[in-house]
């Protein structure tokens, strides 16, 4: 398609504007985490790593970071296991309600977090509470897993559809038992899809706040929750900036890696 030079420039400007709106504020957070002035006077007069040191020394922030990592790891592990299992079931077998199942797996990512949060909150209290299991890390992991499963599921299913089953037939034909076929053929072929799905799941869980609010229970603070509660305390503001900057970096890296894995030519079989 050919566009007139004027249209090209207009579209470029629009795109630049859009990207500016998204990324300049994020950049601001990063810069402000080094801003020497407590009220973030702009432009910064001097740069300092004081806030980074303060944030590192803050027990609350460190504890929150640890909790977030634990929750994200738990949710990712759950998502990897369940997402892979469902992807295989949907790809390999024709069974009653297969399309419905597929929809039910994908749906939580579209459901408003607040709805998921309320539902999980009341369900946990009325069911798990009765069993004597209060809200805590486990309920957060379960809450996050509900929408993390889909990232693994989608990645693995797409890979399975792309590779088909001929390679596994070839493996069996050459004398490999089912577990050998899984180890030498199936797993290596879905490995990068698992990594991509897992990284996305980790990133989703790591900065989730809405569902977390409803499932964390008293005493459990993840990093986003910590930021939210400290945001409006003036003397904590610089530290919040640092933590926000950490969150940005921690989210960007896995997503970037996941994208490289999912779309690099050669990561999957040539078709």
């Amino acid at each position: 398609m050919t566009l007139s030079p004027a249209a090209r420039w207009a579209l470029r400007a629009a795109m630049a504007l859009g990207l500016t709106f998204i990324y300049v504020p994020l950049l601001l957070v990063l810069v402000n985490s080094f801003n020497g002035d407590r009220t973030f006077a702009w432009p910064p007069h001097d740069l300092t790593t004081r806030w980074w040191a303060a944030a590192w020394a803050s027990d609350g922030a460190r504890q929150a970071l640890l909790t977030s990592v634990q929750a994200a790891l738990g949710a990712t592990a759950t998502a990897l296991l369940l997402g892979t299992l469902v992807a295989f079931a949907v790809h390999r077998f024709a069974f009653f309600g297969r399309d419905t199942l597929s929809l039910l797996i994908v749906l939580p990512i579209a459901l408003p977090g607040i709805v998921t949060g309320i539902a999980l909150d009341s369900a946990w209290r009325s069911v798990m509470g009765e069993l004597g299991i209060g809200k805590g890390l486990l309920s957060v992991v379960v809450g996050h897993a509900t929408f993390c499963v889909v990232t693994v599921y989608n990645n693995v299913l797409a890979r399975l559809r792309r590779t088909g089953t001929t390679l596994e037939e070839a493996s069996a034909d050459l004398g490999a038992r089912p577990w050998q076929t899984f180890r030498y053929v199936t797993f290596p072929l879905i490995r990068s899809a698992l990594l991509a799905g897992g990284l996305l799941a980790f990133a989703l869980s790591f900065d989730e706040i809405i569902v977390t609010t409803f499932t964390a229970g008293p005493g459990l603070t993840t990093l986003p929750l910590w930021i939210f509660t400290n945001l409006f305390r003036p003397n904590q503001a610089p530290v919040v900036n640092v933590v926000a900057a950490v969150l940005i970096i921690a989210s960007v890296i896995p997503v970037w890696v996941a994208q490289r894995l999912a779309f690099t030519p050669g990561s999957g079989p040539p078709r």
């Binding site: 037939e169 070839a170 493996s171 050459l174 004398g175 490999a176 290596p188 040539p270």
Partner: protein, 349 residues
Amino acid sequence: MITEIRYNRPMTVELSGLRKTFGAVTAVDGIDLRIGDGEFFSMLGPSGSGKTTVLRLIAGFELPTAGTVALDGRDVTRLAPFERDVNTVFQDYALFPHLSVQENVEYGLKVRKVAKRERRDRAREALAKVRLEGFGARKPSAMSGGQRQRVALARALVNRPKVLLLDEPLGALDRKLREQMQVELKAIQRDAGITFVFVTHDQDEALTMSDRVAVFDAGRIVQVGTPEAVYERPVSAFVAGFVGSSNVFTGETAKTLFKKTGTFSVRPEKIAFTDEAAAAPGTVAEVIYAGPVTRYVVDLDAGARVVVVEQNSRTPRALAGLRGQRVRLGWHEEHVIPLPSGKDSAHAS
């Protein structure tokens, strides 16, 4: 020991009453077949005729709805693919994309716990047999279609199976390469003494390479025999039309031409232009020059349109001038093949 068993039981593949249905579709409809040890056996038929399903039943990828599969005298009907002493060359080769060529070829030996050194040597040997020495370190994606085809062949042959199943292995290659591979495949088969079961829809391929050919139609075998028998003495209009091309005459036309009732077939190359007064008169409708041969389409006065193929061994006739010209066609009595006039007594094709 093994040779002795083979000697005593010369049938490697035996299929009895084999049926396979997928839902309401009957893919294989009662197949009985015995394939001999060391035979190059082709299964020829149009797509959807069930030949590939039969191959998959022999390999063990599908379980038959009824009937049995025996390999080397042993019933393997219910055994998994990895428990059968057969290997397959897949239509799309199915090379493992994450493994090198060498690792691909070694795969069957590796999963059977053959020692590393032996497996390396045997894989090298197999690659040499398909003329791919020095390609071991490459990934399949870095090879051409013809090379991948040979890797797939080496990967199967390295296991020294009793039977090698080939599912349209030359289908994706261009014509020149295909003809070259036909010769190579035949040579490899003769050298290794392995039974080849070869699925194809290409009649030239089946005729050139096979010891015997089975012609498939609608899930059944309609004729089994040597290439010569299938070509020269087809048992039905379907076989006559699918294996080579044929002129089929029915009804009044047949009566006028052959002085008897029934359905008859005459191959295009068995019909010649002649000056004999007794020959069948007609008009040339079309002249198609095809390099080594020229095809003439002639409308006979007796009411049939026939194809005549003539070798261009001498300078071809002045082609354009022939169209519309009156000619007479003749043939030898022994080249007239009587066919059963059934539902499938088809038109000339």
